[in-house]
Point group: C2
Chain length 204, copies 2
DNA sequence: TCCACTTTTAACCATTCGGTTGAAACCTCA
DNA sequence: TGAGGTTTCAACCGAATGGTTAAAAGTGGA
């Protein structure tokens, strides 16, 4: 018998691929190997399913980010870790699902984002902002707008994590040139994103 | 009588707010002040409506970007212009709608993106990549991965353009701190994004 | 005025979706 | 064996949705 976690995993994938509106309850129940009535009995309606899927995917990342605030004193190393949290995950699929859901939510103005999930996002943002602010206070970083630094890190990272299919389609319709640089490993991508950001905000 | 352009404008807003699946034909027709049958008579079904809306919003940006390739020899100035094209637009709403649609499409793996629109996106990417490559060849930029530079620019810019509602919600639930740095004008945001990227890729 | 084109009106259809229900089956543990 | 919780099954509901159409009404120019 599938556990709640199994169901949430399937639901997360569905929400990432199709969005909240596009995901189908029947489909999720069927793919999780559970009856629709069971899903309602165990978890509840679509809203509850979404909220729990979000907390499940956001929670561990936030916890890791906040642990880094006290465990990693070096601000550059800490920013690198935060970049990895965004681009990479327990596995790459996990990270790309996370990014897809977040991008959709941001595009929708967080209108369907449950309050609990929004609070978690806010804490991640706070972790990045605090790290940048520490770096500025230590004289390591330029007096950069920490919120824009957050945008740069999250934007580059999540966009890269999620847009592999788009890259593939673009590469297909523009043949002739070498496309190797478009397909990096998640680790390389996270490192290069962090490098670029750090070069951009480090004091000369 | 509303013109086709009026209808496309309403449709673009609807697609940006709700996504392709979420947008309702009846709603678009009603808000455009035109009958649904007229919409079908003049433009066609939902697919045609989406394709034309995309071309309308992408076309001018691509044209401007490709003009810059020959008109602006200075690679840094050119990159700044490309950043502005992403963050800012004819008006700010226009830019944020563009960004919202693009983010949704990227999150969906460009699965519903018409081929014509995808080709336009590819040309924008090519413009950024070529500019970065020129800068590298001139010895101005580090040998950066041009595709990642594209991610950084597009990611930061579009994320910022679109997430004003999210910032507002986050600011609301985390009171007490100053939030001024979270709300920049589009011009300031575009400039700071470009600054960060240029500092990140410029040779020391 | 007549004609071709455009727009509206209003209905229709087949499909889909989230959610519910009630009865039957199953399982576990005492 | 029996009771209580869990799961399945299949059908159903009501509301929307995308798409289409036939006929009437309106429009402007030759």
């Amino acid at each position: 018998m599938p556990t709640d976690d199994d169901i949430l995993d399937v639901a997360t994938r569905a929400f990432a691929e199709k969005g909240f509106d596009g995901a189908r309850i029947d489909d999720i129940a069927h793919r999780a190997g559970v009856n629709k009535a069971t899903l309602y009995y165990r978890i509840g309606g679509k809203d509850a399913l979404y909220a729990r899927a979000m907390e499940r995917i956001l929670g561990p990342k936030i916890a890791r980010a906040e642990r880094a605030l006290v465990e990693i004193p070096d601000v550059e190393a800490r920013l690198r870790l935060l970049a990895r949290l965004l681009v990479d995950g327990a596995d790459h699929e996990h990270a790309s699902r996370f990014a897809a859901i977040m991008l959709r939510e941001i595009a929708a103005g967080a209108s369907t984002l449950p309050d609990t999930a929004l609070a978690l996002m806010g804490r991640f943002l706070a972790a990045i902002e605090r790290t940048v602010a520490e770096g500025v206070a230590q004289g390591i970083f330029r007096p950069i707008n920490p919120f824009l630094a957050h945008m740069a890190l999250v934007g580059s990272g999540m966009l890269y994590a999620v847009n592999e299919p788009v890259r593939r389609r673009i590469a297909d319709i523009a043949p002739g040139q070498s496309k190797d640089h478009m397909f990096l490993s998640p680790e390389d991508a996270a490192r290069q994103v962090a490098d670029m950001l750090l070069n951009g905000i480090r004091k000369p």
